[in-house]
Amino acid sequence: MKLGTLAMLLIFLLAAYVVLVAVAELPPYGMVGNPSHNQVSQRYIENAWEETGVLNMITAIVLDYRAYDTMFETIVLFTAVLAVIITLKTTEREGGGK
C-alpha cells in the first residue's frame, strides 16, 4: 500500500470517528426531555387554532407560520419545471436555429 493511500485511510477513519462520537452524544429518540420538544411545538399545539383560525394544524404551520418557506418551495417547483423545459423541450424553429 502506498503512503498516500494509507494517509487517506487514516483521515477517513478519523472523520468517521468524529461523526460517530457526535452521533453517540445525540439524545435518545422520542424521549420527553429532548431539546426538540420545546416551547415552539407547545405553542403551535395550544394556539394554532385561535391564531390562524384553521383546524388542520399542519396547514396552519405550512401556510401561516412558515408561509415564507412554502412560498420559496413553490419557487423551487417553478425552477425545477423551468430546468426540465430548458433541457428537454424540443421546439423546431424556422431558420434552422435550435
Binding site: 383546524l55 426540465v84 423545459i85 423541450k89
Partner: protein
Amino acid sequence: MRDFILKRVAALLLPFIQMYGLYVILHGHVSPGGSFAGGIVVGLAFIAFTTIYGLERGRAKVPEKVTTLVESYGTLWYGIMGMVGIFKGAPFLANKIAGIDLGELGALSSGGLIGLIGLGVGIRVASTMITLFSTMMEEES
C-alpha cells in the same frame, strides 16, 4: 397502452379521482390533507389520462398554454396574497395581524388567506406534475 377495458375503467374512475383531489385542496385547512397532497392527486389523474389515452388527447385536455399560465401566475398569486398584508399595514404574508376576518372555526371559509393560498399552491403543484410528465413524454416520442 390502448386497451379497451383500461380506457373504460379510466373513464369511470378519473372524474372521481379529480373531484377527490379538488376536495383535498379546498378542504386543506379543515380536514386532513392539504394543497400539496391534493395537487399531486389532481396532477396524477391527468397523468393517468395521458398514459392511457395518449399524449395528443392528454395535451388537448390540458394545453401547454394553460400549464404555462398556471406555472407563472401560481407563484405570483402567492406573492399577491402576501401583499394583502402590506396593503393593510402589516408584515408580508400576515393573516390575523392584518385584521383579516378568520371566520368560524371549521367552516370552509375559515382561515382568512390560508384557503386562497392553498388553492393557488394546489393548482400549481398539479400543473407542475403535468408539465414535467408531458415534457418528458414528448422527449421520448
